[in-house]
């Protein structure tokens, strides 16, 4: 039987740079590797990885396995899974970490079932049990109403990690590491799904993930219009972006790209303003990392007030315009 050793991070890159989830995973993975006294490595799949191996080393990895192939230009489950399955079998790591991203959500379950091992998705904390050396995998369950800690005795132990729950180490360009190119023959005959078209649903203005302030609306907003007027005006004053909880998205008031929550975007802005949002656990899961949460809701019993640092009880149609007007004055001073 193979010996399972080390921690490996599945890295994601875009336009020649690592995604922030990858540097976060390297930070979290570094702690696990140190606790185990084993190596941290990173795998990178792309048509061309560019400077990202150096970046991964600067962010704490000891080894970088790279697979470059023209067929890896865009993520495609049937091509990527063969490469990742082969790497996992060759490297036989003790732990595999992926981001709870579009790719990680798709790739991790496929990989776990192919390798015959367990997986915990959407983890918010990972640590090593000092006695058993097993990975303790903490994840929110019941829509965020509780947390569970899982272990898995079959190897490798696989976890996907929620963005913005782990911290990257400080970048150090002088760190040394090893880059190991790996050639994988990709069997194109196993590709069963065909992508006909990719459609971007552009959202004007600042992207949610990058916005320092987010003004979100919920079911209580009542329709699409106020997102473009009342909420937008407030967001503009604070140079922020407009978001929403799930009901406005499901009702078609605003596009999915603006959805903050467990199944939408996980954000952590400086200021998060929740307007007419009841505060269901699955929404809180998407914004609980914010520095300051401000709630405006007419229902004093709304769960959102338990999460908020500041709150106003009242109809948003009356509260928000006055709030926006006063902010404008204060910020002009």
């Amino acid at each position: 039987m193979a010996e399972y050793k080390g921690v490996i991070v599945y890295g994601e890159l875009i336009n020649g740079k690592l995604l922030s989830i990858t540097t976060e995973l390297l930070g979290g993975g570094r702690n696990l590797a140190t606790a185990l006294k084993e190596d941290l490595s990173c795998v990178l799949l792309a048509d061309t990885v560019g400077e990202t191996p150096k970046e991964a080393i600067a962010f704490g990895t000891d080894k970088v396995y790279i697979v470059e192939d023209p067929s890896l230009k865009e993520y495609q489950a049937d091509t990527y899974i063969q490469v990742v399955e082969k790497l996992a079998k060759e490297i036989s790591p003790r732990i595999i970490l992926m981001g709870q991203t579009s790719i990680g959500r798709d790739l991790a379950p496929r990989l776990a079932f192919r390798l015959g091992t367990g997986l915990s998705t959407d983890c918010v904390d990972l640590s090593i049990d000092s006695e058993t050396k097993l990975l303790l995998q903490t994840k929110p369950v019941y829509g965020g109403n509780a947390q569970a800690i899982f272990t898995c005795e079959s190897m490798p132990q696989i976890a996907t990690v929620r963005p913005k729950t782990m911290s990257p180490i400080e970048r150090d360009n002088s760190r040394k590491g090893e880059v190991i190119p790996i050639k994988v023959e990709i069997d194109m005959s196993t590709i069963r799904t065909k992508v006909i078209e990719k459609v971007k649903e552009e959202v004007a203005g600042i992207k949610l993930e990058d916005a320092p302030t987010i003004v979100s609306g919920g079911r209580g907003i009542g329709g699409p219009e106020p997102f473009k007027t009342t909420l937008k005006e407030l967001a503009d004053v604070l140079h922020g972006a407009v978001g929403a909880s799930r009901p406005p998205v499901d009702n078609g008031w605003i596009p999915e790209a603006m959805h903050v929550g467990l199944t939408g975007k996980i954000v952590a802005p400086d200021i998060y303003i929740a307007i007419a949002i009841s505060g269901a656990s699955q929404h809180i899961a998407g914004c609980s990392g914010s520095k300051t949460i401000i709630a405006i809701n007419k229902d004093p019993e709304a769960n959102i007030f338990k999460e908020a640092n500041f709150g106003v009880v009242g109809r948003y149609e009356e509260v928000v315009p006055a709030f926006t007007k006063k902010l404008k004055e204060l910020l002009a001073e």
């Binding site: 798709d106 776990a112 997986l119 369950v141 800690i149 899982f150 699955q282 300051t292 338990k306 509260v319």
Partner: protein, 269 residues
């Protein structure tokens, strides 16, 4: 045209829309306890999966078989899938199916699907509404060796193929895949339709088929808690301190003004 042969996997869960305060973990048993007023429902994402199958049946015709795994499943809950237009309901129902993880659940469902015989499309919700793992659908596809398209927001069957709009960051992609295939469905697809009275009456007369582990060729040691790959070490609820400061005013508008002043004082803006 013979129509499309479909399977929908539906999980019975405690109503996820219940207010957060009623969710209480019993530390002695490591289990979630819920008061009786929290009724079981079909997982919200599984309802979207059921709707996806019904829309295909509306257009192309065919048959929908619903699979549900658990123990002591409430008949009025699982029969909702028949009332809205499902054709057959198979329950994997036994106490040994309880307390499974994604691994043991996907295996049992895959074995049951094999036993049903021919199928064109399998639908699952993107994730369950209790454990939120999002693994079972993709796991079933791996075990059966068929392609899977996750996070569908629109599905259409044409000429032995299925065309799926699948949600990706900042947009969607249109994917085409031949039968058989597995599709997981996300909330943007739209809510499950209401049952018509005729459907409810017809469903009341239908009896679900019940399968035990031995009916799908599995030993009790391979299913539920015994068949798990992951072990639940602890279930807990992080303690939350009420930290909020409520800003008041004579009128809602004045409270809004005062909020801005307070944020400036606190150097937040």
């Amino acid at each position: 045209m013979p129509g499309v042969n479909m399977i929908v996997c539906c999980k019975q869960v405690p109503d996820p829309e219940a207010p957060p305060v009623v969710f209480k973990v019993d530390p002695a048993t490591n289990k979630m306890t819920l008061p009786p007023e929290v009724k079981p429902v079909i997982g919200q994402y599984d309802e979207f999966a059921m709707e996806a199958a019904l829309r295909i049946k509306d257009k192309a015709g065919g048959k929908i078989t619903i699979l549900s795994l658990g123990n002591k499943l409430a008949r009025d809950v699982v029969k909702k899938t028949l009332a809205v237009g499902g054709d057959e309901l198979i329950l994997l129902e036994d106490e040994t199916f309880e307390e499974g993880d994604s691994w043991s659940t996907a295996h049992a469902l895959a074995m049951a699907i094999k036993k049903t015989g021919e199928y064109d499309l399998i639908f699952c919700g993107r994730q369950s509404s209790d454990w939120d793992a999002g693994q079972v659908g993709l796991g079933i596809a791996e075990i059966l060796g068929i392609p899977a398209v996750p996070l569908a927001r629109r599905v259409e069957a044409v000429d032995g193929k299925v065309r799926v709009e699948r949600v990706i960051p900042d947009g969607y992609e249109i994917v085409e895949v031949g039968f058989p295939a597995l599709i997981t469905v996300t909330s943007e697809l739209g809510s499950l339709r209401y049952a018509a009275l005729k459907g409810i009456m017809a469903a009341a007369k239908k009896q679900p088929i019940v399968w035990k582990p031995s009916d799908i060729g599995l030993e009790p040691s391979q299913v539920g808690a015994a068949g798990r790959r992951t072990k639940l070490a602890k279930l807990f609820q992080p303690v939350k301190e009420a930290k909020g400061e409520i800003i008041e005013g004579e009128t809602p508008a004045e409270a809004g003004t005062n909020l801005a002043i307070r944020l400036r004082e606190a150097k937040i803006i």
